[in-house]
């Protein structure tokens, strides 16, 4: 297994800061906007975005976590069983501008499930998608992100891993992992 660093922690900080400024361009003071991180890994990105926005705007943007397990289309079709995570959406999304946040956009199926899961909480005025990494040419569905940290051209056999200090990783890093051919 080969592990190649594609974004180090300094670059990641800059990337998050840039994404936050792009968000501010579109959402102003965030009075009608909320952030939803997709469980399990988008939650850390959402927390980071919320934290960085707070340091720029001086206010906490409502942030929740959305679990898509029960809405996935590969339930009972995959090798490993799905485990549900907590959902925490303690605000109304009816009429709001929702920013869905995830770490890596790959096939687009999680995002489709997230759109389904989100609708159970009301009808948002507008939905956007923010991802740190967009894996090119891998989409199964017509889903495109609104805000992208970085585009990555990768093989199907490769995997993009985003590590956070909150998950006991030594540093915030983004890796491209290649499995060796047997």
């Amino acid at each position: 297994m080969q592990k190649r660093l594609i974004v180090n922690h300094q670059l990641l900080d800059i990337m998050v800061l840039r994404l936050c400024h792009q968000l501010i361009e579109n959402h102003g003071d965030f009075s009608d906007s909320v952030i939803l991180g997709l469980q399990p890994r988008g939650r850390f990105v959402a927390q980071r975005i919320q934290h960085t926005l707070a340091s720029i705007l001086g206010k906490q943007v409502p942030t929740g976590y959305l679990d898509t397990t029960f809405h996935r289309d590969d339930f009972r079709r995959r090798e490993t069983p799905l485990t549900a995570n907590a959902t925490k959406v303690d605000f109304l999304i009816e009429g709001k501008n929702v920013i869905l946040v995830d770490d890596v956009l790959y096939t687009g199926r999680s995002v489709r499930a997230a759109l389904d899961a989100m609708i159970a909480y009301g009808r948002p005025a507008n939905v956007e998608l923010l991802v740190l990494i967009d894996r090119l040419y891998s989409r199964h569905l017509p889903i495109q992100p609104t805000y992208v940290g970085r585009h990555v051209n990768s093989l199907q056999s490769q995997r993009v891993l985003v590590e956070w200090k909150e998950q006991q990783a030594p540093e915030d890093n983004i890796w491209l992992i290649t499995k060796n051919e047997e």
Binding site: F70, H71, R76, P81, T83, A84, A86, A120, Y121, G122
Partner: protein, 307 residues
Amino acid sequence: MQELSVRHLLGIKDITPQDIQLIFETADNFKDVLNRPIKKVPSLRDITIANVFFENSTRTRLSFELAEKRLSADVINFSSSSSSVKKGETLLDTVNNILAMKVDMIVMRHSSPGAPHFLSNHIKANIVNAGDGTHEHPTQALLDSFSIRERLGDVAGKKVVIIGDILHSRVALSNIFALQKLGAEVMVCGPTTLLPKHIRQLGVKVELDVRKALAWCDVANVLRIQLERQQMKYFPSLREYTLYYGIDKKMLNSLDKEITLMHPGPINRGVELSSDAADSHHSIILNQVENGVAIRMAVLFLLAQKQ
């Protein structure tokens, strides 16, 4: 990634403490789903579930049906009173006929202990036991422990007394297994005629005086006197039973601590529980019913992954 160690939920005896924890954690998430404006998820949309009830049931059947519908499963209902069972068809034939119509899961209640175990050896579909005679009622025990966990934070280390007709109760047996697997201390309390002879071998305490039992416990799970299962007289009269084993508000107030009162329903008000006790703040009876749907959703969801 976790999954259940079993393909069928036949009884609490067959599952591990880890299975119970996984069911609880999944039920937490489903409870959250049930509090949303739209209380439905599409997880089981490609699954058909047959509710096969050879014995009367209101609460359990409604709870299962609601759980199935909230998971988007297709549901068919079958009750023996309006079926070919009356014409002499065997259990296996009846179920095989249902399965021939491409049914994926069976939720079954039967008056014979072991009926779902027998079926599990002969058919491919997942089976959920919704009560087999006087043997087990696993989902009830799961929702009881889940409700204790919700009220008191944890089941481990708690003292739970089961009061009433232990002899005829599947709820009692499943509860004993579940509570012990989760680390609680269990006591049974009732007239000697309604306590099974070798119940101590299960590692439970036995108490005949309900006042002492209440003084000992953190949680009291009160059972109904199952007159329909009693083929002989086990006590002189219901009035006498109430006199010795009925629980009322005065008794609860006389304790020097707060206890939690549970009942699997249906309650016979004025027999095992007085109305003022059943409706008091001690009681979590309606929480149990609410949690029942979440627990059953979790069980069906987790079993569906084991096909």
